[in-house]
């Protein structure tokens, strides 16, 4: 594991540097026309170095330079009070809350559906095709309506957003758990039968433990999907709070730097969440006596 990891660090670092370099070039190319226009109107003539610096420091650039975004993220993360409306931590917290709630409901629902599908043939035959079809539907399109409709019955705040996350996250869990609950070999199931184990005993002592690796693998997908659901769910609420709201507000006022900062914040949250699930999976599987791969 370690040896393989070391072999990757250099290529990843170089490609990241290349992306950064392309980003700077892109910043210059995309901001230059506007800056030239600005200078012509203002009657300013600049040297080429000066001009280059000007494209990197516009207040509302078409494409903000990486250091502008980095400064914005740093300021809004560490230098502001967490309760402040401009703090990225505050907005990330709002999004995180609905992500986690939706993820929890979605995971519970997914496990429930999977247990049903494994134990009832008629559910397997009738529900499974719809489960798959439900994911070919661009369900995010429902987001504004769910929010508005639930607001009409005085249900606002966390739950409507969380419901969108739930819809996006239950499917990977359901499919993964169906696979996991069916993963015990025939020989293991036969062994349970020789012990005269009841259906419930087979479930708790064989099927459920066997499905744990599948559960964590699908939870990793589900939590990323859940975050996307939470962000999109914040769009139609009229930009109150959260990373999605920050994006929307940025697009209203052309605050590109703010939008990029919000994107970075969302990405950091996503990586933290996936890492957390990964860590939990390692701890649980070690406790269950699995060998580390």
């Amino acid at each position: 594991m370690r040896a393989r990891g070391d072999g990757r660090v250099l290529p990843v670092a170089i490609i990241l540097l290349a992306i950064l370099a392309i980003w700077y070039v892109g910043t210059y190319a995309m901001n230059a026309p506007f800056q030239r226009d600005l200078d012509r109107r203002g009657g300013v003539t600049r040297s080429s170095t000066d001009f280059f610096i000007a494209t990197m420091t516009q207040p509302k650039p078409t494409l903000p330079a990486p250091h502008q975004v980095a400064t914005n993220v740093f300021e809004n993360t560490f230098l502001r009070k967490i309760t402040s409306n401009r703090s990225l931590v505050y907005h990330a917290g709002v999004t995180l809350a609905s992500t986690l709630l939706g993820f929890a409901i979605g995971t519970a629902l997914g496990i429930l559906i999977a247990v049903g599908i494994v134990h009832f043939v008629s559910l397997d035959r009738s529900l499974m095709p719809w489960l798959i079809a439900s994911q070919t539907i661009p369900i995010l399109a429902l987001a504004p309506m769910i929010i508005v409709v639930l607001a009409a019955v005085n249900l606002t705040g966390l739950l409507p957003k969380a419901l969108i996350s739930t819809y996006l996250s239950f499917f990977p869990v359901a499919v993964g758990m169906v696979k996991g609950l069916r993963s015990p070999d025939l020989i293991n199931l036969d062994l349970m039968r020789t012990y005269h184990a009841s259906g419930a005993q087979t479930f708790w002592k064989l099927r459920l433990p066997a499905s744990v690796p599948f559960l964590f693998a699908s939870m990793k997908v589900a939590i990323a999907a859940s975050l996307v659901g939470a962000i999109v769910g914040e769009l139609p609420t009229g930009a109150v709070a959260g990373i999605g709201a920050k994006l929307l507000a940025g697009s209203y006022y052309s605050q590109t730097i703010d939008m990029f900062a919000a994107l970075i914040a969302g990405s950091v949250v996503a990586l933290l969440l996936v890492t957390a699930v990964d860590l939990a999976s390692r701890v649980v599987q070690r406790r269950m006596g699995a060998r580390t791969a």
Partner: protein, 372 residues
């Protein structure tokens, strides 16, 4: 056919007993004729389910009784909206239990003939979907749920039929411009970069971890930025779709290109095949299942990307635009109609790719027939 424990008929009798005590169905306007017909139909169904009758007879009765009951019950709501009583829903639940028994019987059918298998695989989910619609219709009409909250499916369908031209224009804008262009460009770019990464191992080692990481990120967030860069028309939506579809294609193609074993590649080398020959004749076909997997994932992502990007600004046409404006005007039936259309198109898109996969990767174990 193995013998099944069937408990549904007895619960049906119990529910019917409770419904009997709670008569009439509609407190405002009782109709004894309807009630008598419903009870006779359901008793017939329960009898066929519980008594030792030939299987074909049981299937026919169970196919007819619950659905005729449901149709009668829902039709009775047309004249008396929002007046359904407890016993109405008890009778509907009894009908549903009979339908469940039908599904259980059909699921237990073991038949070698492929046409029977295929039609069963279609009928069973169809029954499930039909009952969801029936319950939806019965609850919204029977309880008089406000139209804004949840319109009944029949109203959505009526709206869909009357506003076909508007929806067609939206589909043209969103699907045939934003989604298709973005999908083709994004998948194509992902594929080409994957080939490039395959050619240069250094790039592969650097790109793969980054690609894997990016797939966990909420990429949809670039939508407002793309709208700002490329304007309100479909170009910005296509750009969002390109970005969303690029990484799944890249990661999957790179993974697929590495599945061939060294023994197969050595064979190509003994044939004196060059890089491109072994790529086209061996490694790309072997990677096809992975590539199709990416195409399938992307078909959903592309629709989501285009529709969500339209929330950030569009010309006055497009499915995302229609959804967000009609929600604001409380025309909820129109929103549901758009979503239904999006669902059908999403499923068709997916289905076309699945069919193409079947014909291209017919050699793959998951498609070879011979499974029982």
């Amino acid at each position: 056919m193995k013998s099944l424990q069937l408990w549904q008929p007895w619960v049906v009798l119990l529910l019917l007993g409770m419904a009997w005590l709670g008569l009439p169905f509609h407190s405002a306007d009782p109709s004894p004729g309807l009630e008598a017909t419903v009870f006779i139909l359901l008793l017939l169904g329960a009898a066929a389910g519980a008594m030792p009758v030939p299987n074909w007879l049981r299937l026919i009765v169970l196919a007819v009784a619950p659905h005729a009951t449901a149709w009668l019950l829902i039709r009775s709501l047309l004249e008396r909206p929002g007046s359904a009583d407890d016993s109405f829903f008890l009778a509907l639940a009894a009908a549903w239990l009979l339908a469940w028994q039908l599904v259980a019987l059909l699921s237990a059918v073991r038949c070698r003939r492929r046409d029977v298998q295929a039609s069963l695989a279609l009928i069973i989910p169809m029954l499930f979907g039909a009952w969801i619609l029936l319950f939806w219709e019965a609850f919204t009409r029977g309880l008089g749920i406000p139209f804004i909250l949840l319109p009944p499916p029949s109203a959505i369908f009526a709206r869909l039929v009357t506003s076909l031209p508007v929806i067609a224009a939206d589909v043209n804008q969103t699907i045939f411009k934003s989604v298709l262009v973005g999908y083709l460009l994004g998948c194509g770019a992902g594929f080409l970069v994957a080939i490039l990464a395959d050619r240069i191992p250094f790039m592969r080692r650097g790109l793969l971890p980054i690609g894997n990481m990016v797939s966990a990120l909420p990429i949809i967030g670039v939508a407002p930025i793309m709208v700002m860069w490329f304007g309100f028309d479909w170009h910005s939506k296509a750009a969002v779709v390109v970005i969303m579809t690029f990484f799944p294609m890249l990661v999957n193609t790179v993974a697929g290109l590495s599945v061939t074993s060294s023994i197969e590649r050595d064979l190509m080398r003994t044939y004196a095949a060059g890089y491109w020959q072994s790529l086209v004749k061996l490694r790309l076909p072997a990677a096809a299942p992975f590539i199709f997997n990416a195409l399938k994932i992307n078909s959903t992502l592309a629709l989501i990307g285009a529709i969500v990007a339209e929330f950030f600004g569009t010309p006055v046409v497009g499915m995302g635009f229609r959804i967000s404006t009609e929600v604001g005007r409380m025309n909820v039936d129109m929103v549901w109609a758009e979503i239904a259309v999006a669902a059908v198109i999403g499923s068709l898109f997916y289905g076309v790719i699945a069919l193409a996969e079947r014909s291209v990767t017919f050699w793959h174990p998951s498609f070879r027939s011979g499974r029982a």
